[in-house]
């Protein structure tokens, strides 16, 4: 490929982050987790509380989300890598088609923004994720589907 400011290791870090975002979160193929993420990787998926920081917790967050917003889209907006950390900022667009966080489907269109963060050990071949975060504005989503009353006083807009 043509020359770039990113090293091969940095590009592979971004590729790995993108693949986790697309294959696991967006497409819902949780079976690929073991291929992309080592079993001892710290998995932090803060948007949904109460889930374990492991394959099972991540898989439940993903499958629950697909149950709630089937066919949702993720739009990659920005990517960068520094010091072995690959970060992707993305936007999510979808429709509330199933129960999510105990809120039954209401058919409303929703959108939110999120980040995926992969700290990678680029000395390994293939490179290895040491710590993985997937974070999006779950409170904002809950608010959009009616699962959370707006905390903003109406008078504040006046």
């Amino acid at each position: 490929m043509e020359r770039t400011h990113y090293s091969i290791a940095e590009r592979r870090s971004l590729n790995l982050a993108h693949e986790i975002l697309d294959a696991v979160f967006h497409k819902g193929d949780v079976n690929r987790m073991s291929e992309l993420i080592a079993s001892d990787t710290v998995l932090l998926h803060h948007p949904v509380p109460g889930l374990g920081h492991d394959y099972a917790g991540f898989a439940k967050m993903v499958t629950d989300f697909h149950d709630g917003f089937s066919g949702f889209d993720v739009i990659v907006e920005h990517m960068l890598v520094r010091d072995g950390v690959a970060v992707i900022r993305w936007k999510l667009e979808g429709r509330h088609t199933g129960t999510w966080l105990d809120v039954p489907a209401n058919g409303d269109d929703v959108s939110t923004v999120g980040l995926i963060y992969c700290e990678c050990d680029t000395e390994q071949d293939p490179i290895r994720v040491l710590e993985h975060w997937l974070h999006f504005d779950s409170l904002g989503l809950l608010r959009q589907i009616g699962g959370l009353r707006s905390a903003t006083p109406e008078s504040a807009a006046e």
Binding site: E2, N15, E19, D73, V76
Partner: protein
């Protein structure tokens, strides 16, 4: 009349139009040649323009037509010669292009800038003259930029060259799959950049794929389609059980031989022959896309790690030979037998006919190019002139170079050496090391960098892997001497005893060292040894700085010494060449000039040569068909240098290497390979050993390509081999770096018989001839008196006689 129906003129990718009778070296100059018209198009032009004479265009009779494809997924058919016919005869807008930025394209680089504005038709189309059709591959996106739900597609079109209409069965969406160890791997357009130009041969259209800035998961792919039916004709994946290995070649198309076999280079990626992964390789495929053969450079791992794609360039099938030549980012050209590509030799590329550093090295007048990368992009060009054939290459940050080719090899200038396959040993040394050969093994002796400064010896069968290290219980003040003769290794050294006595020891197997002799001679420096005519010769510089020589039949009993009137400020060197003993030293003069003298018997020395070159240490001499002299320079870095010549009086062609040394270097031959050993100038003083090869010396252009990417994109025009007809046309940036930037361009014309002579360039009369923005990787097309040049300024430039 000539037809240019495929990128770089033919499927051997020689980049030469040999039917050009209107343009020659006498009439291409700023007074008579320039831009005659330009044609507006709707996007950047990555594809090389194609040319057909006498096309019955739109049923209106024969017209000479130039075809242009753009990144906006448009194809145009313009009149090739008539400035008055401004509008295209036809213009097809195919699928919508993929507008940038797009978070799914090139994301591995963060922000993708390799391609600007949009992605559409990246590769050069190909024309099927028999069927009157043109094949073109478009890229399109259905959905929003960056959307992971977006659908990216490549479409293959088969257009009527007279109307632009899609022919029967066209278009088809490109799909492919390939068996791997997990079942099958699927082609995914989203990750695949269709950059290498199309190849049509044997009724099959071949399409190569790489990536957008290594954004995956991607693989190198070759996909085949029947030209007649557009039905799939197979696929080949470069890394089916790995990743990457793109086929991009900076736009150069796959090459093919008369039998329809395909040749191409791949980029960084998995390399594991046992798992069918071939990143950074030359690959040969059958017409049915079966793997026939492959080659990878010995330094594959380093190339991949450093993103130094072998596949940034393509290959040229050298006409009337069974050879091909190609190279990539490292700037080496590889000359390879098409019937035996050579696979992989981790020790060095000695299994192929020739390889040499073609860019980034000093030129014939010994100027060094800038200390920068010298990647080859695209492919070299070839012309068999009346006075001999040449291969042309213009790497980035380098000169245009024309290398002579004799039909079998690039002739080398002995001693115009390059350091190749360097092995840096874990050993450190005081003074220079010593090399010698017993005909089977290369012996290496050195004074260790350990506190005791012990003398060491080990051997190697290949000059790379050394073993059998013996640490002698002897200590030396300087580098030792080593030679082999009469079935015996001999080591000489100056001891660390207070008087600094000279010592000699011998061994028949290199393991047991016996017959140590402490001579009654002393020296402040290390001695020298050489064996010839049945005698062992020893030389040393005594405490008065006088040079001395004596000889022995067995290394134990020595003749009377001869003390010369010549003096040195360091130890001497000895070499036995063609039956004569050569004494080598640096004079005690302020310049520390290098001196050579020869003798038939070791007692009478004649033919003294005092060179203008200088060193703080003695030089070394060897016979490589000519004499080759190596020494450590007195420049601040203490660079290694060589000279070569038929006689010691005629040494010339000085080459200065990037490697630097402490102490004197040493030369030895094992088989046909010449080895150079030296102690590096790194803080620890590691011992290095390398092959040195003769270096082909090019003629070079007077000017360098501007700093940055990508060097020059080349085309040749000539009337056969006729003298005075050959012109090298080069498109390159006028200034600036075209890597991730759009920069202004320049078109230059050189005398192909002497590229030091520039005939014309578009900047001489910029108001009339300016190029606009440089079309990256797009070579000019020369046909019937015109030069067609794509741009990134929304126009096609047409140059010709005014």
């Amino acid at each position: 009349m000539v037809s240019i129906i495929t990128e770089r003129n033919d499927i051997g990718r020689v980049s030469a139009n040999l039917q050009e009778t209107q343009l020659d070296t006498s009439n291409v100059n700023v007074g008579s040649f320039g831009k005659v018209f330009e044609r507006a198009v709707d996007g950047h032009i990555y594809a090389q323009p194609l040319y057909l004479p006498g096309v019955n265009i739109l049923g209106g009779g024969p017209r000479d037509v130039v075809y242009v494809a753009t990144m906006h997924n448009s194809v145009y058919a313009f009149d090739a010669h008539d400035p008055a016919v401004r509008n295209p005869y036809w213009h097809r807008s195919l699928e919508p292009s993929c507008a940038l930025p797009d978070g799914n394209i090139g994301f591995a680089c963060g922000v993708y800038h390799d391609i600007a504005v949009e992605i559409g038709i990246v590769s050069t189309p190909v024309i099927d003259l028999t069927a009157g059709s043109m094949f073109v591959v478009t890229f399109t996106r259905i959905g929003s930029p960056g959307s992971l739900n977006a659908n990216y597609q490549h479409w293959l079109h088969k257009l009527d060259i007279t109307t632009g209409a899609d022919l029967a069965g066209s278009p088809v969406q490109i799909h492919a799959s390939f068996l791997n160890s997990n079942g099958a791997i699927q082609f995914d357009s989203k990750c695949q950049n269709q950059r290498s130009s199309l190849l049509l041969t044997g009724g099959i259209l071949y399409i190569g794929f790489a990536s957008y800035c290594d954004s995956g998961p991607y693989h190198g792919w070759i996909v085949g389609y029947s030209a007649a039916t557009l039905q799939s004709a197979g696929a080949f994946c470069v890394t089916p059980n790995g990743a990457e290995g793109g086929v991009w070649q900076a736009g150069t198309g796959l090459a093919a031989d008369e039998g329809g076999n395909l040749y191409f280079l791949t980029g960084n990626g998995s390399f594991d022959q046992n798992n069918s992964n071939f990143g950074d390789c030359l690959i040969k495929l059958s017409p049915q896309l079966g793997l026939l053969d492959w080659f990878s450079p010995f330094n594959n791992q380093a190339l991949s790690r450093q993103d130094a794609d072998l596949g940034s360039g393509g290959v040229v099938l050298l006409p009337n030979t069974n050879l091909l030549v190609g190279g990539g980012k490292e700037g080496r050209l590889y000359l390879i037998d098409r019937e035996n590509l050579g696979h992989f030799n981790p020790v060095g590329d000695t299994q192929i006919p020739q390889s040499f550093q073609a860019t980034g090295v000093r030129n014939m007048v010994d100027n060094a190019p800038p200390a920068a990368t010298h990647h080859i992009h695209g492919s070299p060009a070839y012309w068999d002139a009346a006075d001999g054939a040449r291969v042309y290459v213009w790497g980035e940050n380098d000169w245009l170079r024309a290398y002579r080719f004799d039909g079998a090899r690039f002739p080398i200038v002995p001693g115009a050496a390059e350091i190749n396959f360097k092995t840096t040993l874990p050993e450190t040394a005081v003074g220079g090391p010593a090399l010698a050969s017993d005909g089977v093994r290369l012996g290496l002796a050195w004074t260790g960098g350990d506190p005791g400064q012990h003398v060491n010896f080990e051997t190697s069968a290949d000059g790379s892997n050394f073993s059998g290290k013996i640490v002698l219980n002897e200590m030396s003040v300087d580098g030792p001497a080593l030679t082999f003769g009469n079935g015996t290794w001999f080591i000489g050294w100056t001891g660390t005893d207070p008087q600094r006595h000279v010592n000699v020891i011998s061994s028949v197997n290199g393991a047991q060292w016996i017959n140590k002799v402490i001579l009654n001679e002393t020296s402040p420096f290390g001695p020298a040894l050489a064996f010839g005519n049945g005698l062992l010769f020893l030389s040393w510089t005594d405490i008065h700085n006088s040079l001395n020589v004596m000889s022995s039949a067995d290394g134990v009993h020595w003749s009377s010494k001869v003390t010369l009137t010549d003096m040195s400020a360091s130890g001497p060197g000895l070499s036995f060449v063609n039956g004569r003993l050569y004494l080598l030293w640096q004079g005690g003069d302020p310049n520390r000039s290098l001196n050579i003298m020869e003798s038939a018997n070791g007692t009478t020395f004649i033919n003294k040569v005092v060179l203008s070159n200088s060193s703080n240490f003695h030089p070394s001499l060897i016979d490589i068909g000519q004499f080759c002299l190596a020494w450590t320079g007195r420049d601040a870095a203490q660079s290694l240098n060589t000279l070569a010549g038929v006689t010691t009086h005629g040494l010339s062609n000085k080459r200065t290497f990037g490697d630097t040394a402490r102490g004197a270097p040493s030369l030895a031959k094992l088989g046909s390979t010449t080895f150079l050993g030296w102690t590096g100038n790194d803080p620890a003083g590691h011992v290095n050993v390398t092959h040195i090869l003769g270096q082909p010396l090019p003629t070079t252009s007077p000017m360098l390509a501007p700093m940055g990417m990508p060097g020059g994109m080349l085309s040749i025009s000539a009337n056969g081999s006729e003298a005075g007809s050959g012109i090298v046309w080069a498109s390159l940036p006028l200034q600036g770096d075209a890597n991730q930037h759009v920069v202004p361009g320049i078109l230059r014309a050189f005398d192909a018989e002497n590229v030091a002579r520039e005939l014309w360039n578009s900047h001489q009369n910029a108001g009339r001839d300016e190029v606009g923005n440089f079309a990256k990787f797009c070579p000019p097309t020369v046909a019937d008196g015109k030069v067609y040049l794509g741009t990134f300024s929304g126009k096609l430039n047409v140059y010709g006689h005014l």
